[in-house]
């Protein structure tokens, strides 16, 4: 596979996931304000965060599955941007950590939902 495609694909996938995580955090607050049930919103948070974890593991790590691809990724990034493979690793690890925090959250009250959403938005600022 072309090194530029691997590099740009990895960046696009991770950035797309970050946008989804932020957008969904806002949606939890909107659903809360709209009066939707805590059970429904808690299930939505769990299901979304399960998908985040799956995406990080499948999309990002698949790009790094062997040395050849890893080498191409590094080369592509070096050519195309100032982003390094180490920066991508850090980015992926951060997304994964936030997703796992959401996934393990114990949600019993509206305040719990607000806290989960706020923590995600705080951890993933609009302009990283």
């Amino acid at each position: 596979m072309d090194k530029h495609m691997i590099a740009s694909g990895a960046i696009v996938n991770l950035e797309g996931l970050r946008r989804d995580m932020r957008a969904n955090a806002f949606e939890y607050l909107a659903r809360l304000n709209a009066g939707q049930s805590l059970t429904d919103i808690a299930l939505l948070i769990f299901n979304n965060s399960t998908q985040y974890i799956r995406r990080v593991e499948q999309m990002y790590r698949a790009e790094r599955v062997n040395e050849a691809k890893s080498s191409l990724l590094a080369e592509g990034l070096a050519v195309d941007s100032s982003v390094t493979p180490a920066m991508l690793d850090t980015f992926a690890a951060k997304l994964l950590a936030v997703a796992q925090t959401e996934n393990r959250a114990i949600i019993k009250t509206a305040a719990d939902i607000s806290a989960v959403a706020a923590a995600t938005l705080r951890a993933l600022p609009f302009a990283p």
Binding site: N13, L17, D20, N24
Partner: protein
């Protein structure tokens, strides 16, 4: 148990999505997008994919529509667990007077069924069995469903026939885990609806 409905429309805040459904804007939601507890998105689209908000005063699942303004198909993907699902559709348009419906549902690459026909006027929608409804319709989990095996875990659907302009017209698609039935048909089923 999985239960997810995608409401196709032009903009996200146009209406409030009911529980177990979320909005889907095919021209902008390129796969993968995670929303509503599932990952889905558009994997291919023509040069003139059209997503529209139509009427916020009717059932939110029928409030918008997606169709192709060019001779192309919009191809979409929804990630599920492998299994049997009840598939429900709402195909039509609140505004357009005679929507040409072409929507194909696939188990990854294997075609399961196609709705091929037209509505008799505006404010009309075809369900997954080809029956026509008007704006009084409230799509429910109990009606108009086709039980299908999605053994790949990847539900795909294509909007438009790829030949003519202004075809497709999908407003809502829903997949709900089913205990049994489904199976693998020997060939894809096409439901022709003559207006």
């Amino acid at each position: 148990m999985s239960d997810i409905g995608l409401n196709l429309r032009g903009t996200s805040p146009y209406v409030t999505d009911p529980a177990n459904t979320t909005y889907f804007i095919p021209s902008g939601d390129v796969y993968p997008v995670t929303r509503g507890g599932f990952t889905f998105g558009t994997t291919a689209q023509g040069s003139n994919a059209q997503d529209r908000d139509r009427n916020a005063g009717i059932d939110a699942r029928l409030a918008g529509v997606s169709y192709n303004g060019s001779a192309a198909k919009t191809e979409c993907e929804l990630d599920l667990s492998a299994g049997n699902y009840d598939i429900q559709l709402a195909c039509g348009d609140y505004s357009y007077t005679r929507a040409t419906i072409v929507v194909e549902v696939l188990d990854n690459t294997i075609s399961r069924f196609t709705i091929n026909g037209a509505t008799t006027g505006s404010n009309r929608w075809l369900d997954a069995l080809g029956a026509q409804h008007d704006t009084t319709w409230v799509p429910s989990s109990a009606e108009a469903k086709l039980n299908q095996s999605i053994s790949s875990g990847t539900l795909k659907f294509k909007i438009g026939d790829g030949v003519s302009t202004d075809t497709g017209y999908l407003a809502h698609i829903r997949a709900t885990t089913s205990a049994g039935g489904g199976g693998t048909p020997s060939r894809a089923r096409t439901i022709f609806v003559m207006p």
